[in-house]
Amino acid sequence: MNDDDFVFPAVRGHGLPHLISKGVDPKYYLAEHCGKSTGSCGGVSTYHNIDTEHGFFGLAGTLGTGFPISVGYGMTSKWNGKQQVVVSCFGDGTSNRGTLHESFLMAANWKLPIVWVCENNQLSMYVPVKDHHPVENIADLAFGYGMPGEVVDGQDVVAVAKAVDKAVARARAGEGPSLIECKTERFVTHSIGLPDRIDLEDRTKDDYVELKKRDPVVLFQEKLLKEGVLTQKEMERIDQEIAVEIDAAEAFADAGSPPDPSVLDDYLYAK
């Protein structure tokens, strides 16, 4: 994807996987989440985030906000000749929203360059996917709107990358939207401080052992080590690099202070 391609992230990790990969610096989001004026939204939002240079025009806490917004991004990229593509990601829970259907309809109807990516971790808070979706694959929705739909292994980052790359090319060629469903997992509780429960039962240690067998980071690490793409030393260097970045991000966030209340008037209306 290019810098100016649009992305609307899924809610888990508040979009960190998508935004870090798209080049957005996470330290500003840490500062924002700490209420500091140095935060990406000036410290007035607790959890919103924005970086227009990287095609990221913000996210919202209302699940399903991304569908209509992505239609808007698609309309813009269809008109302004920059051939931007929109990657719009959402979880299996969010796919329940009515706005999905209205947006899939408009996108397909107007052949908008949107790649809908459903990250199906099979859990909507405590509700297993079989209790909130009638069929096995959410990707089947695609056929109703005349767009290609595909299921991929969401724990295999390469498989996802390849599928999305194909869909992006399709969209950029003006052939309209596609839907990719990634079967993935949620290793921890829905929200820090809540029990990690499925329906009525809390997940047990054994459940975690089973889950961790398909840890995407470990799977990919072993694969790259086996292929010789990655060496132990390279791995440690990367980890060390990241540790430094984490400390710098924390220092940046902690150094900031809350904004001056006068910003509320600056931000409410544009001149």
């Binding site: 990969s21 969401g154 999305v164 290793f187 980071v217 790259l224």
Partner: protein, 54 residues
């Protein structure tokens, strides 16, 4: 689409950075050093990283 070595390392770095930052936010919320809620991505990073790395 054949991934070149450099692209694979990019995917790997993004995966590990995501995991590290996601755990940082989780840890800080537990310590009361983060406002609001935190919905961890742990275990589900690959779709986002895969979709937005290239």
């Amino acid at each position: 689409m054949r991934l070149k070595k450099e692209q694979k390392l990019t995917l790997y770095r993004n995966l590990v950075r995501t995991r590290a930052f996601d755990q940082l936010f989780s840890r800080r919320l537990g310590l009361g050093k983060l406002l609001g809620f935190w919905h961890p991505a742990e275990g589900g990073e690959a779709p986002g990283v895969g979709a937005c790395s290239f």
